[in-house]
């Protein structure tokens, strides 16, 4: 992990590339994340139904891969999905995964 790639992953995103949290098809909760750091905060705030909706559709992996361009984070989110957590267990797993990755990226800048 080079400092420049960490900086790129941690960058502030445009509205178009932000992550928008939905609770089900077409139902936008009003929460959005415009950076990985904000995503980590939102994971703790949004309803667990929203986390379940996005995890099992593959939205988190897709965003980590295509927008953040962080293959390591993508791999770790896929690993969370394989455990099939729900509710607060899912929130805790995602919180741990994202927070840990954030620390790694910040320290390598």
């Amino acid at each position: 992990m080079t400092p420049s790639s960490s900086t790129r992953i941690l960058r502030e995103l445009s509205r178009k590339n932000a992550f928008y949290f939905f609770s089900s098809v077409g139902n936008y909760t009003g929460h959005r994340a415009m950076s990985l750091e904000e995503f980590a905060t939102k994971i703790r705030e949004v309803e667990t139904a929203s986390l379940e909706f996005h995890l099992y559709r593959g939205d988190f992996e897709k965003w980590a891969d295509e927008v953040l361009e962080d293959p390591e984070l993508t791999r770790r989110i896929s690993a969370v999905k394989l455990l099939e957590p729900t509710g607060n267990a899912l929130r805790d797993q995602m919180d741990f995964t994202i927070s840990k990755r954030l620390v790694e990226l910040k320290s390598s800048q």
């Binding site: 509205r15 928008y20 098809v25 077409g26 139902n27 936008y28 009003g30 959005r32």
Partner: protein, 159 residues
């Protein structure tokens, strides 16, 4: 029914013509005139005036998408917006090809009510997530997918 507005007053014959052509707009001027006991030229003149005044907005056809074999879903979307941005959001939604209708409503909050057509739920969600949620001023969105339509009718003139 008597209709009158500041710009254009409709008399009894106008209302009767509108009633007939709303039921079936393919009828000729002669056929409409015959039903009303007036000359086809009178019907022509009246319809021209109704077009020019904007009472008749356009002539169109109503398609049955199911008969055409086009699978689709229709959804009603309620978009909660920052009041300062609502007109702008409504305008941008109106430009989207997926959107059939856009209306503004002021109840407890300022809402934009939108009718959306999509091929399936994935396409519907993708449209809302990628094109609607990111619009400046959108606060949250509620979407209901229509599963069964009980009645669909346009406003019809009655005489």
């Amino acid at each position: 029914m008597k209709l009158k507005n500041q710009v254009f007053s409709l008399d009894d014959l106008d209302l009767k013509i509108l009633h007939i052509i709303q039921e079936n707009s393919k009828q000729t001027y002669s056929e409409v005139g015959r039903q009303l006991g007036v000359a086809h030229s009178t019907v022509y003149d009246r319809i021209r005036k109704l077009e020019k005044s904007g009472v008749i907005k356009k002539w169109t056809v109503e398609l049955d998408l199911e008969t055409l074999g086009l699978n689709h879903i229709t959804a009603l979307m309620t978009v909660y917006t920052d009041p300062k941005e609502s007109e702008n959001v409504a305008k941008k939604l109106s430009d989207a090809k997926e959107v059939l209708e856009v209306s503004l409503s002021l109840s407890e909050e300022l809402l934009i009510l939108v009718k959306v057509l999509a091929n399936d739920q994935d396409e519907l969600h993708s449209f809302i997530a990628k094109k609607v949620a990111p619009l400046q001023g959108v606060l949250r969105i509620r979407t209901s997918i229509i599963t069964k339509k009980i009645k669909e009718e346009r406003f019809l003139i009655t005489t």
